[in-house]
C-alpha cells in the first residue's frame, strides 16, 4: 500500500460514510442518540479536506494525521475510538511511501489494541470491536496464507460484515446502547456497521 492507495481508501470511506450517513443515524436512533452518521460524515469530510490540502511522503503519516483529524472533529464515542485506531495504525507502520500487506497486518492489530485499550470493550459487547476484530483476523490470516492485498481486503470486509450483522442478536454492554439493557438486542450496532463500511472501502479501492 502506497500513499496514493492510503488516501484513496480514506476518500472512499468518506464517500461511503456520506452515502450511508442516514442509515447509520437510523441505526443509532434505535439504540443510541441518532448521531453516528452525522458524526462520521463530519469527521471523514474533514479527513478528505486534509488529504486535499496535504502532500504526504509516508503512508503512516496519512493515517496518523487522519486519526488526529477524527479526534478533533468527531466527538462522541466514535471520534476518539476511530481516531485513536487510525493514529495507532499509522504509528505502527514503518516510515516511507509504501508498506507491505504484512506491515498492514501489524498496524491494523495495533489499531484494534488502541480501540480495546481506550474503550475497554471485549468481543460480544456490541461495539466497533465486533466488526473490527474479525476483520483484522481475516486480514491477517489471508496475508499469512500468501494472499495479496485485494484478496485480503475482500476477506476482511466480508468478516467485518458478518461481525456487524452478528451484533443484531447481542445485548450491548458498552456505550450508549448498554443503557437499554435487553432492549438493545434486535438492532445492528451502528459502530460495527461503520467499521464494516471502512473495510468494505478498502476492499473496493483495492479490487482489481
Amino acid at each position: 500500500m502506497d500513499v496514493a492507495l492510503a488516501t484513496a481508501w480514506l476518500r472512499a470511506v468518506a464517500e461511503s460514510v456520506d452515502a450511508d450517513a442516514d442509515e447509520l443515524t437510523k441505526l443509532d436512533s434505535a439504540i443510541g442518540d441518532g448521531d453516528h452518521g452525522v458524526n462520521l460524515r463530519r469527521g471523514f469530510t474533514a479527513v478528505a479536506a486534509l488529504l486535499d490540502g496535504t502532500a504526504f511522503t509516508s503512508v503512516g503519516d496519512v493515517f496518523v494525521r487522519a486519526g488526529g483529524t477524527l479526534i478533533s472533529k468527531v466527538g462522541g464515542a466514535s471520534g476518539p475510538l476511530y481516531g485513536s485506531a487510525f493514529r495507532a495504525v499509522g504509528k505502527a507502520l514503518p516510515p516511507g511511501p509504501a508498506v507491505t500487506p504484512a506491515d498492514l497486518v501489524t498496524a491494523l492489530r495495533a489499531g484494534l489494541d488502541a480501540v480495546s485499550a481506550l474503550g475497554g470493550a471485549v468481543p460480544g459487547d456490541k461495539t466497533i470491536v465486533d466488526a473490527y476484530r474479525p476483520a483484522v483476523m481475516a486480514f491477517g490470516e489471508a496475508v499469512a496464507g500468501g494472499a495479496a492485498l485485494p484478496e485480503a481486503a475482500a476477506g476482511a470486509a466480508r468478516a467485518a460484515g458478518d461481525g456487524a450483522r452478528a451484533t443484531v442478536s447481542l445485548t450491548a454492554r458498552k456505550g450508549r446502547a448498554s443503557y437499554l439493557g435487553e432492549r438493545s438486542a434486535g438492532h445492528q450496532d451502528p459502530g460495527a456497521t461503520s467499521t464494516w463500511l471502512i473495510f468494505q472501502a478498502l476492499a473496493d479501492v483495492t479490487a482489481p
Binding site: V38, V74, G119
Partner: protein, 332 residues
Amino acid sequence: MKKFINDPNDVVAEALAGLAAAHPELRVDHTEQYVARADAPRSGKVALVSGGGSGHEPLHGGFVGPGMLDAACPGEVFTSPVPDQILAATKAVDGGAGVVHVVKNYTGDVMNFRMAAELAADEGITVETVLVDDDVAVEDSTWTAGRRGTGATLLVEKIAGALAEEGGKLGEVAAIGREVNAASASFAYALTAVTTPAAGRPGFDLPDDEIEAGVGIHGEPGRRREKLRPAGELVRSALDAILEAKPVESGDRVIVLVNGLGGTPLIELYLVYGEVATVLAARGIEISRRLVGNYVTSLDMAGLSITVTRVTGEMVRLFDAPVRTPGLRWGA
C-alpha cells in the same frame, strides 16, 4: 421536522452566536467553540470546565458565570465535545490553581475529556475530573457503561462552583463535587421521542398511551416502555427507584430537582413537585432546597427527571451562595 433553525448543520454555531449576543458577560470563542466567563482566567481560582453535547440547554453554557462554571464546551447536538475544544477552554480559564472537569458519564464524554486532560497535563495544567453518574435507571455494573450523568450535574456544578468561587483548593472542589454526585440519584420519564435537527424525525415511535421509563437525556429509549399512569403513581415509582439506589433516611435533608426535559410545561413540573414533596414528607425526609424548571434538557422531549441529593449543611450553604449565570441566578 419543524424547528426554528436555518441549516441543521449550523444550529450549534448560530445558537452560540445568539448566546454571545445575549450575554455580554460571557466570552464565546467561536473558533474553538467554548463559552467562558468574560473575566477568566481568574488568578488563583480553581476553574471549573464542563461540556457535553448540545441540546441540553441551559446545561452547560447557561451555567457559566460567577459561582458556577468558568467555561463550557458545547459539542454538536448530543455529541460530546472534542479534546481540542476542551483543551482550549481549559487553558483559557486556568488561573494557576488547577482545573476541575465536570464530566457526565457517557463513553464519548469520558474519552474526549480524558484526552483533553492528558493534553492539558502535558502543558502543565493540573486537571481533576469529577464524573457525574446519577441516573439510577441504568444499572451500574460491568454489563453497562455505568450510570449516566443527568440532573445531578447541575448540583455538582453549582456546589463545587461555589466552593471554587470562595477560594476552595483543587482537591477540595473536586472532592465536594464527587460527594454531591455520590449523594445524588435521578430517574426520568419521557412522553415523546426527541427530534434532533440532523435526524429530522423522532428517534422512536411512542403510542399515544405509552411512555418510556428510565430515559436519559439523549433521546435514547428508556429501560422499559410503560402505559401512561397518573403523575402521582409515576412519582412514587421514580422515588422508589431513587431511594432504593441511594438510601435516604427519615430526618435526612435533601435538595430536590424536578427537571423538565424541554417539552413539558412548568405547570406539570410544579404538579409533580407537589407529589414529590408529599411522598418525601411522608417518609420524614426534609427538602432543604429545590429547583423546579428546565435545566438539563433533551431538546424538545416531553418528559422530566427527578433528582434527590442527600445534603450536608455545607452543601446547602454552597448551594445558597450567590450565582450569576444565564440559567441560574441568585444573590447577585
